[in-house]
Symmetry: C2
Subunit: 423 residues, 2 copies
Amino acid sequence: MSASEQEAVCRVVIIGAGFGGLEAALRLGSAPVDLTVVDRHNYHLFQPLLYQVATAALSPADIAVPIRHILRDQKNTTMLLDEVVGVDPARGVVRLRTAGALPFDRLILATGSVYSYFGHDDWPRLAPGLKSLDDATWIRRRLLLAFEHAESCAAAAARQRLLTFVIIGAGPTGVEMAGALAELARAALAQDFRRINPRAARIILVEAGPQVLAGFPDKFVRFAERELTAMGVELRLNAPITVVDAEGVVADGERIASATVLWCAGVQATPVASWLGVEPAKGGRVAVTAELRVPGHPNIFVIGDAAFLTDAEGKPLPGVAPVAKQQGRYVADLIRAQIAGAPAPAPFRYRDQGALATIGRSAAVADLPHLKLTGWPGWVLWSIVHIYFLIGFRNRVSVFLSWIWAWLTYARGARLITGDDRR
Amino acid sequence: MSASEQEAVCRVVIIGAGFGGLEAALRLGSAPVDLTVVDRHNYHLFQPLLYQVATAALSPADIAVPIRHILRDQKNTTMLLDEVVGVDPARGVVRLRTAGALPFDRLILATGSVYSYFGHDDWPRLAPGLKSLDDATWIRRRLLLAFEHAESCAAAAARQRLLTFVIIGAGPTGVEMAGALAELARAALAQDFRRINPRAARIILVEAGPQVLAGFPDKFVRFAERELTAMGVELRLNAPITVVDAEGVVADGERIASATVLWCAGVQATPVASWLGVEPAKGGRVAVTAELRVPGHPNIFVIGDAAFLTDAEGKPLPGVAPVAKQQGRYVADLIRAQIAGAPAPAPFRYRDQGALATIGRSAAVADLPHLKLTGWPGWVLWSIVHIYFLIGFRNRVSVFLSWIWAWLTYARGARLITGDDRR
């Protein structure tokens, strides 16, 4: 660190207030820095519960909190609602769409990932993915409208197509989505129609690989497959999708007529690599050093889904919230140490705290270091963990009450068709 | 009633599931009729609290319930999400956009009102009104974005324009909106910005007439004007709006630069009169008989905001929820009596239960037959009445908790910028 930098207040810029960026911002709140947090949205989103907004169980405000509200007591912090259009590492400047050039001494890029459609540019419109609140209310609109249109529809084939739902990708999000959709059709909507039987809706979970929940222990995979089947979800394994069009999909050579196709398959990083002018690693990520720095740019850090780093065994770290949060904390501590003139912390090491996935009403799998749970105990643990990590007291209460209420009544409180058909 | 009609089950169609249409539908749930309820939205909206969604205090799901969920236990009732494109009174058919021709023996038109812009076709886009959930989330987006853009804005004049809010029309909705917006700026957002001071936002309530809350007793008008002024709302009375454009408005000859203009002024009925081919009465309403029938079409009823009827003193009935509900109940009872061969009920008479309006945190006016309240007691009564009339147990609990929480913390739980700039 140069003498001049030590004199001026260190300007830290964080791009993205997801799990990683927000953790770093909170950790730097009491540091002697001038901190600016930039996000495209005005809210921090608790993404693990986004599928519950898409399936009408929770309201958007239950899982999203204004970023500036979270950071309001940090006097050293400014929040800007803006979008990054480029980074100039040599000049130490981030270019924003509205506010223009934003200079930095340290830059933390925590911009996350977007769904990857493997180069099919028309698929995102046909098979929306679930990343933002607008995605969720759009998918909720599509799901609920499919039932409404089926009720008004006289032709049997068209009605069957409206009542066929295809979910592509059987990772945790796809499994959770399929379970929640099955519950919506079989329980919440069951009594509400006269001409159609929502229970007869087909929910098809399509996976290119040989199993659901790739990466989870075998016992859990078998449990999840059994539970999904019991809930009436049709599993299509080893069935890569080759066509998505206005009629439906082609999976493993078989055409499935469906009016509602959802994408829960692969993700790729946001264009951080191209902003920095570096060669992207796997999934468009930026390969970082063990200190989470961009090679050649020691004052630029990339964390979370946008970063590529391997663990001690050479396995890439997964794109999950705990990795992003631990990395956010690490970088914040590293910057604080630098400013204090303290020795740099040891290289980043991810502490795996396990994984959780839920399948529906009282069935979940928990794969923790010292605890493996399935079924009802797994679901209770899943609920506690998710409510615990929700930011903001009010959201916790609201989500807790919504769950209790949904549990007792099978009803879905947020079954609203809003917005319009444009996208 | 003809012999053939008595043999077949009477087909009743209700268009619109607002306060009037829903009341009629619930009242006909146990009648020996074949009932179809048609609405453009899948939800019944508790419109009196819509301004709280627009000002980020409540979530859309707090004040809206799926219509088919409310009617799910009525085995004689079908709900269709559809839009009316015309009525053929002679053939006894309603034409729907999706489902086509829908025959009826009795038709209840309860389609409500829309904002009237007095022939200015470009004003709705510039100064949105507050009628649907999408209006409310759109206005919420505009309000919150104005503060966000001001925070990013370097030019003082542009920033001042972004922090100037104009509300046109000082009826109950305009007064409630101005009060809620003042609280949003002065309390909820006060700590959250670094470059602007939200407390310095100007909130200007413009009214063409000589006072706020026209129709309320003088004492209340003075109370409301005093409270609004104390909250920092600028009142412009006797100030008709002559221009609404991209820069702001011209009120009583004075130009006000504002980025956010909201319309809470006059309403007009939906195009029921043109569907029926009758001459519209005042405000585009359909003049009805004392039995709420359309003259010349005894099997067609118009109720609520779409109907024009005068009371015993010749004063037109106001476009408020109690009128619509009482009329819905009256028509349902009349149809039940007809089917049972019982004598027709006496002509409709509106029982005025008074009026309520709130100005903000613990200030409201209540003008009831035997009770006049202002201030804190008025606010408590206002809260109880509104929660009591909210449909659905869960919503009542959720709204109650939101209010308690907002009251204790001054926070707004639903400060989310969603959607996009298109409209």
